[in-house]
């Protein structure tokens, strides 16, 4: 009975269990943040109800870049927005008839299928600000959460 529970070498089994528990705690407590997606603002890239992970170490050695899909925390990491970065610190951004214009140049967005004619007044991003939007631009701008997010709010980059 004892060998059935703990294997032929209980000491090795205990080490394996300890390694498994430690690596699980490190991976899911420190490196990856599980995210259950809710809402349609990132369609068609992500679907409502899907499961994903935010890699918290993605920006440990580099800064977030345009096109990255990131998790942006609210008061803490329990609730996050999942959005795509379209504007970087210091850039001048506006949206005219659905087209994002960065420093006067229209931005190519292959992940956006349909662009409703949004108009967003021009803004110059601060030194630690990123402009984020979801991929679903078919919805009205009023029903879509988007805007400037400070660097410290960006928890990590979506893994898948």
């Amino acid at each position: 009975m004892k060998s059935l529970l703990f294997g032929p070498n209980p000491r090795h089994t205990a080490i394996r269990v300890a390694v498994l528990v430690t690596s699980t705690v490190v991976v899911f407590g420190v490196i990856l943040l599980p995210v259950r997606l809710s809402g349609i603002s990132m369609e068609p890239t992500y679907h409502d109800g899907g499961l994903n992970f935010a890699n918290r170490l993605a920006f440990a050695w580099r800064q977030p870049a345009r096109g990255d899909v990131v998790a942006i925390r609210m008061a803490g990491p329990s609730v996050v927005y999942v959005k795509r970065i379209v504007g970087l610190p210091g850039e001048h951004l506006e949206i005219t008839m659905g087209t994002v214009i960065i420093d006067g140049v229209p931005l190519a967005e292959p992940t956006v299928v349909y662009k409703a004619p949004w108009n967003v007044s021009a803004v110059t991003l601060g030194r630690d600000e990123y402009f984020v939007i979801g991929d679903n631009r078919a919805m009205t701008a009023e029903n879509h959460d988007f805007g400037r997010a400070t660097r410290e709010r960006i928890v990590g980059k979506m893994l898948f």
Binding site: M74, G76, Y81, K83, R148
Partner: protein, 168 residues
Amino acid sequence: MRTSGSFYVSVVVALLVAYFSYQWWYNPRRAIKRQLGELAATLSVPADSRGDLDRLARAARLRNYFAPDVHVNMGPSRPGLTSRDVLVGAVAAWNPPAGGWNVTFVDVQISLDSDTTARAYMTVEINSPDPRTGQPEYDAREVRVGMAEQQGAWVITTAEPVETLKRP
């Protein structure tokens, strides 16, 4: 010597028990968290609770969580509420969704300004079923509240939304 050793161990144990009892019951941060948890439960509406009596009872219970001169900032596009009576009246007049809703406060961060004043910053989660499809709907917003201890209870003195993503 043995008696003396037991005495010291007993003193240490008693101090530890006192410390953890204080942490559990009398720590202001814990008291505020408990109060906010009870407020979230009061703001939640069960699916079968739509009667006027339930609504008025809920509004009356809310008085316990707010200071008489509470100031609630509703955002730049809406007028604020400047007293507890106005706030309770607004809640009493409001009809909850047919399927009810569940309110929870998560990631609650509390900072004490003094023995009797504090600030709390948190995410408010609201879960409710869509009245037409029955599918769960979800919303979350950041809120910052000021609190004060009045007559032995922590009450909210100010509340304001925090914009996670700032629109131009």
